[in-house]
Assembly symmetry: C2
Homo-oligomer: 423 residues x 2
């Protein structure tokens, strides 16, 4: 498979981009060669796609189901009873719905943590996006991993050899308050042995931090370090409440923070200190949307704007979190976090990209394209999405979208039906 | 002119909507009558359009021109030199660009304050949107109104009788730090005599408040009251820094606050206390985008999400600023603020509306349509826009859009050319 994109704008200049297999082969002013597919890039700019580093994709089923509610009643009275009705088929359907939405917004990769992950893998493989899928760990009681997790993770393990190069398996213990130190230590060893990534919620709420001090005499970050969990292949989701020592430890262990500004604001969890943690302390930061239940969409364009504006507001500095840095966090740094050789439009890199419409009113004028992407664009500006050398959306069309939407609607009606029966 | 929208979803039920002239005439399950234009509403919901209560529309010329800079160097080194090169034709072109963007996002009204307002009126009249256009007042020295403003306001006055019912003229003194008390008092009297609206920036930054205490011994709000400026037809843009007494005064005088969450975050101006000012004290609040230079788009959908999430974050309450309230501020309350009999889809009201695509991935599932609008949707969900009984966008198509975009691009290149010559 080869793709030739003609007359497209890259870094302010017109060029042609030739993709062979899953990589950018040639980028030059004029390329004269045949290709299986030729795209007209006139009036469009090519940019890296987005790498969403924290998601629970199948939670699309709960979009708008329970908003404006405090965290604990929200979980106990709404989210958990709903989740108790979800089947493997639901996860497949709702992950497809999530992927449709992500493709529309130019996202080419997401880091997922959810139930029935085998079904998520099926949706990911079919739809052509990249993803890291977690072996989920939640404990019934300290040291006893939920049977559902254990079985699902065995199935994932059995599939491992047959997965495409687009799918990465991670270890995804939910959080320190749902997984014991003993199990965390075991996971850390397994991840180290397999050179695998770890994905965990960390320091999201004040309550989590207070309980960690009560239970372990340590902050969540220090406790994770004690369990051997911190390293350059560890993705810490949230990190809203960090002490000075936590920041130093994250820096020293070269962990990756997945910052989820929209979710943190919506749940009133607190403010990530972007300027201090990233610009002053130099921690690695990437951007995630979190799941739809706490966002309520999967737009990385919106997440970038929230990240930038939240950083300015929190630090009281209009100069904090400038557009180029935020864009880099959402693209190159996200790819790098998972050792994906992508996130930059460059010969030899994996061919992940989006085309934006330069004649869309919010992209005019074009004084600064990256500023327009971070501060002005929304998903309506995204025209075409390419992942791993395959066109996932062409001129705003995703093949089969309407049928997938209708299937997802039916599936979610089914969940609501079972939920009513349970009540 | 009549429009019949068939099989559209309104408040969860299917119905037909018949528009005659500029008002909703009949809303019923089935309407059998001829119409000049029949729209298929299947798979779409009808909702009120958005009323953007603070804007400087023609600042689209500066989208992405100068970001991530502190307020004063931003104004002095970037915004003001750029504005010094702007002509009446530029304002016409860039207001058209702004209106295109607003229509795409479902906005049917904006409250404008800018230079060359006669050119803005021309764009508004041609493009069919509603607007309130300000007689701008800025002083060269205390008591001496800029000659440019004086002349422009005379021209506006001369046009007044010929304006369509879509256009309202307001008094728009820029702020207390650019207009003296003497002039503010004169404006207050003129506005009162004509039963006109007043539109002014108020309590946007800490510096403005500090200087007001220094110069007048009063907060900006108290000073405006002394000048006779506060009443139910006064729109106070921003109100970020309010004392308890300011809040009581705004409540007592029944002023309208135009809250601009995106701009306040981007310029790190501070946080509007939505929960305290609106939900506890009961002040009237509407939503604005501010101009593109400090936002950098005109999406009311995005502004609603920033308003809701900022309120939750600021008050540390996930329950603050619920979706229905925020949607109401962006629609009905915005229309009411300007005595426009619209903002609700109801027989007899002015026919302002948008249709959203219920099969767009971010609108699925539809547990709660208003939550989806506030928290999930972006402008890509907006399919059709009707203002004053006229279709401004049909199925995402705005007639003449591409030509207007190209004209705006040329115009902005012209400004940059003159700017370079000036340097």
């Amino acid at each position: 498979m080869s793709i030739l994109i003609q007359h497209v704008t890259l870094n302010g200049a017109l060029c042609d981009v030739y993709i062979e297999g899953n990589r950018f082969k040639t980028i030059a002013p004029h390329i004269a060669c045949a290709a299986d597919c030729v795209l007209d890039g006139k009036g469009k700019a090519i940019l890296p796609g987005f790498y969403n580093t924290h998601n629970h994709a199948a939670m699309t089923s709960m979009r708008g189901y329970a908003d404006d509610i405090d965290l604990f009643p929200w979980l106990k009275n709404h989210i958990w009873p709903f989740e108790a009705c979800i089947t493997e088929e639901d996860v497949y359907q709702c992950t497809r719905l999530a992927i449709l939405e992500m493709i529309r917004g130019g996202t080419v990769f997401f880091n997922d943590m959810y139930w029935f992950s085998v079904a998520a893998v099926r949706a990911i493989e079919e739809m052509g996006i990249r993803a890291a899928v977690g072996r989920l760990f939640i404990e019934a009681s300290p040291g006893i991993i939920l049977e559902q997790n254990r079985k699902e993770n065995e199935k994932l393990e059995a599939m491992k050899a047959s997965l495409s190069s687009r799918v990465i398996l991670t270890y995804a213990p939910h959080a320190i308050y749902t997984v014991s130190g003993k199990t965390l230590s075991m996971i850390a060893e397994q991840a180290k042995a397999g050179n695998d990534f770890i994905h965990i919620h960390a320091s999201e709420t004040e309550l989590e931090v207070a309980n960690s001090y009560k239970d372990h005499g340590l902050s969540p970050i220090a406790w994770l370090d004690t369990c051997g969990m911190l390293g350059p292949r560890t993705i810490l989701a949230h990190c809203v409440h960090l002490s000075i020592d936590d920041i130093a430890l994250i820096r020293q262990r070269e962990c990756i923070i997945a910052h989820n500004p929209t979710s943190n604001h919506k749940l009133a969890s607190g403010r990530f200190r972007f300027h201090e943690v990233v610009q002053e302390a130099g921690c690695h930061v990437t951007i995630g949307t979190d799941g739809v239940a706490s966002n309520n969409n999967l737009s990385m364009l919106e997440a970038m704007k929230f990240a930038a504006l939240s950083a300015k507001d929190q630090s009281k500095k209009a100069t904090a979190a400038p557009a180029n840095l935020i864009f880099d966090c959402a693209t190159r740094k996200g790819a790098e976090a998972f050792s994906i050789h992508a996130g930059v439009i460059e010969e030899g890199r994996l061919a992940d990209a989006l085309l934006v419409d330069l004649y869309h009113p919010t992209m005019v004028p074009n004084h600064h394209l990256i500023s327009n992407m971070v501060y002005a664009a929304d998903t309506s500006c995204v025209d075409t999405v390419i992942c791993d050398g395959r066109i996932l959306m062409d001129n705003k069309v995703i093949p089969g979208e309407r049928d997938m939407i209708i299937s997802a609607q039916r599936t979610i009606e089914g969940i609501l039906g079972r939920l009513t029966t349970n009540e």
